[in-house]
């Protein structure tokens, strides 16, 4: 019963985060919303496994957490340098 309530809370939270990701005035608001949306997806997959009575989806949740983190860092690097081919130096230090 409380599992269903937690699932409903996660779904409402995801809808609000999607609204923020569409509305967000700057690109960093969108990146923040999408990052937390990925975090909520990890919770969603875990709770979904418990709701179905087969909590074997946790490996999927684990992989999703890893990919979410690395994807966000890659998107941040792309938004800063407009290119993924540079090393991690600041833009004013580049000649």
């Amino acid at each position: 019963m409380m599992l269903a309530a937690a699932m409903a809370a996660i779904l409402v939270s995801m809808v609000l985060l999607l609204v923020r990701a569409v509305l967000g005035p700057k690109v960093y608001d969108r990146i923040l919303a999408v990052n937390i949306f990925g975090n909520k997806t990890v919770l969603f997959i875990s709770v979904l496994g418990f709701l179905n009575g087969r909590p074997d989806f946790l490996d999927v949740a684990l992989v999703y957490a890893l990919i979410n983190f690395m994807g966000m860092v890659a998107v941040l690097k792309f938004m800063h340098f407009r290119d993924l081919g540079y090393g991690l130096v600041r833009q004013d230090e580049r000649s």
């Binding site: 019963m1 409380m2 599992l3 309530a5 937690a6 409903a8 809370a9 996660i10 409402v12 939270s13 609000l16 985060l17 609204v19 923020r20 700057k26 960093y28 608001d29 990146i31 923040l32 919303a33 990052n35 937390i36 975090n39 909520k40 990890v42 919770l43 875990s46 709770v47 418990f50 909590p55 946790l58 490996d59 949740a61 684990l62 957490a65 890893l66 979410n68 983190f69 966000m72 860092v73 941040l76 938004m79 800063h80 600041r90």
Partner: protein, 106 residues
């Protein structure tokens, strides 16, 4: 019995944290204020819901997997939030409100 009550309590707390953090993401006026709401929903919501699922699973392998997922979330989420806030600051996004600088003070 006790495990069920604890599981329901932790799941309820986690759901409350999720809803409060998402409302903050919608209502706060500034990017840096929104990172605060994001921190609430990332750490408190994830940790409470994962602990509730651990009490629901009992002492099995599932609990170990949940602990691995939770520790991974608790390591990566603050790192990602810090990287995001610092990238926004480097790109010149100003916080709302008045900032005390040398020109305004003098």
């Amino acid at each position: 019995m006790i495990a069920s009550v604890l599981s329901n309590t932790f799941l309820l707390l986690g759901s409350l944290a999720l809803i409060i953090g998402s409302l903050g993401m919608m209502r706060f006026p500034d990017f840096y204020a929104r990172t605060h709401a994001a921190g609430v929903t990332e750490t408190a919501g994830s940790a409470f819901i994962m602990i509730g699922l651990m009490f629901a699973a009992g002492p099995t392998l599932i609990t170990l997997k949940l602990m691995v997922v939770l520790s991974l979330l608790l390591y990566t989420s603050p790192t990602a939030g810090h990287a995001l806030a610092q990238a926004a600051l480097i790109d010149g996004q100003k916080p709302l409100g008045r900032i005390e600088t040398d020109e305004s003070a003098g």
